[in-house]
């Protein structure tokens, strides 16, 4: 018998704690497949965030570090400056990266830090129960914006790709989603480019995933994917924002 589908070597066999329908599982798999295909698993160091992916170190089958909330890009900077020939990636949510860790991500990008960032944007603080995030869209209901995000008091969601694309150190910036097989395939190509950017020494690379949180959004998994397409994508357009490395 020929094996046609299996678990990537870059994932452990541990069952994940993610909720049914959450796209973290797909995103983990996409990242793991890319690490496998590039053959860099034994020289990769991953940095886990605080948030839903806090236990990512149990799932990615490489050396892993658990960072404090928002600081993964600073931790990655420390690792990469000591070990420039290793592959270093961070895996962060929107509260972690775009709120408490905004300073760290902006300056890592500005320095052209040669790391790869996987940014999972589900527009809520999932782990803590679905509070408003810096990427919550106008009118979106969360546990701390119960009548919908009111931009007159809570301000506007932050478009991280567009923001980082203004920085000279950013070599590859893309936004993807996993709402269809075609989108997953595109996402994987983007993640591969983001890792190749690092391998080529071109500078900072980030892929933002529009992700679902059926549990805190109060939707079925299928409704949640549809909601990404209909409500998030218009605000956070998909595509490559920067692609100026040799790897591109």
């Amino acid at each position: 018998m020929r094996k046609v589908f299996g678990r990537p070597n870059a994932l452990t066999s541990a069952p994940t704690h993610y909720c049914p329908g959450c796209t973290h599982g797909i995103i983990h798999r996409v990242v793991a497949e890319v690490i496998d295909e590039l053959g860099v698993l034994d020289r990769t160091i991953g940095i886990a965030p605080v948030g839903c992916a806090v236990l990512a170190y149990d799932y990615f089958n490489c050396d892993m570090i658990e960072a404090s909330h928002g600081r993964a890009p600073a931790v990655a900077t420390g690792v990469k400056r000591v070990l420039p020939d290793r592959v270093v990636f961070t895996y962060q949510g929107d509260g972690d990266l775009a709120s408490i860790g905004m300073g760290e991500i902006v300056h890592a990008a500005a320095r052209g830090e040669n790391i790869t960032v996987i940014f999972v944007n589900n527009t809520v603080y999932g782990m803590t129960g679905g509070q408003m995030a810096p990427t919550t869209v106008p009118g979106q209901r969360t546990t701390t914006s119960q009548s919908g995000r009111d931009i007159s008091t809570a301000g506007y969601p932050i478009k991280v790709c567009e923001l980082l694309a203004t920085l000279g150190g950013a070599a590859y910036i893309a936004r993807v989603s996993t709402t269809s097989p075609a989108n997953v395939a595109r996402a994987k190509r983007a993640v591969k480019k983001a890792f190749q950017t690092q391998l080529a020494g071109d500078g900072f690379a980030m892929v933002e995933f529009l992700s679902s949180c059926p549990t805190t959004w109060g939707m079925t998994p299928r409704e949640a994917l549809k909601w990404i397409d209909e409500h998030l994508e218009p605000y956070f357009p998909l595509g490559e924002f920067v692609s100026r490395g040799r790897a591109s």
């Binding site: 931790v75 690792v79 400056r81 000591v82 300073g103």
Partner: protein, 353 residues
């Protein structure tokens, strides 16, 4: 030892770190420690090292965390308000048991305070500083030469114990110039770091985390940390005594204040007053045992600090009520004078306190 050179305390600290094998420095500007990052930015590239000016002390301390995870000898320096911002990372570093060295060139507080020397971060430095049940190992050098010696040893201690080490200096020690000698030949210790996250080639993967959701395991971790600190209290405590053999009053002071106190003790001796000096060098672990032993023969203690009374708590705990412990402090960047401390010694001897 090599030839004597005249160096500023802050620059000597930076050079000592490089001699000890430190090749990575992540920092952020703040007075009065700027000579350290400036020196590092110039010297580290010469020796194949890396200097990064971080966007904040928060980021700098997390870069330290990352570099320590990668197995490097790494350090940062800052001053009081910046050190406060590093407490989060220091808690994680202590929790994950990573080695690193942090220099705090203390200035007056609270808040933005001032830029003049102080010792008002003693409690923050020695009692943990951030959240959770942990300690840094803290040393308070009293001269530029001692800054050099302690800094070089700090990296060995950090590696040996897998624990952050803090050097508690201040603006006086950092800015003043004194002759120093560096060892001619120094081989940095080569303690293996099989736990480091360097890529899992040829070995099982490593995970560095301070997260443990199982309370049984987290308690075990805290117990193990406490045992490490207990071991350190037997191995790392150090102090210096000056004219304490027959002293009626023993001044207890560290760092800059100990220099003033020593002059005051000399003055007292000239005036026929039997004064002595007990100078803690390790502030955590605190030399409690030696101080308790001294309490069996000394008449009384006078703690002198550039704070409103922080180390005096440890002195009182060590003496444990066996002798009176008095206190004299200046704060906010004011430095006690020899005359003031001499006056306080006289008050204690004459029973006027």
């Amino acid at each position: 030892m090599g030839e004597k050179v005249l160096m500023k305390g802050n620059e000597a600290l930076a050079e000592a770190a490089i001699r000890a094998g430190c090749r990575y420095f992540f920092g952020y500007p703040i007075t009065p420690q700027n000579e350290v990052p400036e020196y590092m930015s110039r010297r580290l590239p010469e020796v194949g090292g890396v200097f990064v000016q971080a966007e904040s002390e928060v980021a700098a301390s997390n870069m330290i965390y990352g570099a320590a995870c990668a197995g490097a000898r790494v350090m940062t320096s800052s001053s009081s308000p910046g050190i406060s911002l590093m407490q989060e990372a220091l808690s994680y570093i202590a929790g994950a048991e990573l080695p690193c060295v942090v220099a705090n060139i203390v200035r007056g507080g609270p808040g933005l305070g001032g830029i003049q020397p102080a010792q008002s971060d003693y409690l923050q430095a020695t009692k943990g500083g951030g959240h959770g049940d942990y300690h840094l190992f803290v040393f308070g050098p009293g001269s530029v030469q001692e800054i050099v010696d302690i800094t070089m040893e700090a990296f060995e201690i950090a590696d040996r114990y897998r624990n952050p080490v803090m050097i508690l200096s201040d603006g006086v020690l950092g800015q003043m110039m004194e002759p120093v000698e560096f060892p001619d030949h120094y081989e940095p210790g080569n303690i293996p770091k099989p736990w480091a996250t360097t890529g899992a080639k040829g070995r099982p993967r490593n995970i560095i985390t301070s997260l443990e959701l199982d309370p049984v395991k987290l308690e075990q971790h805290n117990i193990a940390l406490a045992e490490k600190y207990k071991k350190a209290s037997q191995e790392l405590t150090r102090h210096e005594e000056y004219m304490t053999e027959d002293a009626d009053v023993v001044v207890v002071a560290y760092g800059t204040t100990a220099r003033v106190a020593r002059a005051a003790v000399d003055r007292a001796r000239k005036a026929g007053v039997k004064a002595g000096l007990f100078r803690p060098i390790s502030l955590y672990p605190f030399p409690s045992g030696a101080l308790f032993d001294l309490a069996t023969r000394a008449g009384a203690f006078l703690t002198v600090e550039m704070s409103m009374g922080q180390m005096v708590e440890d002195v009182r705990l060590a003496v444990n009520g066996t002798r009176p412990v008095h206190f004299y402090g200046r704060a906010g960047g004011m430095i006690p004078t020899t005359r003031e401390v001499y006056g306080e010694i006289c008050k204690v001897v004459e029973g006027r306190v």
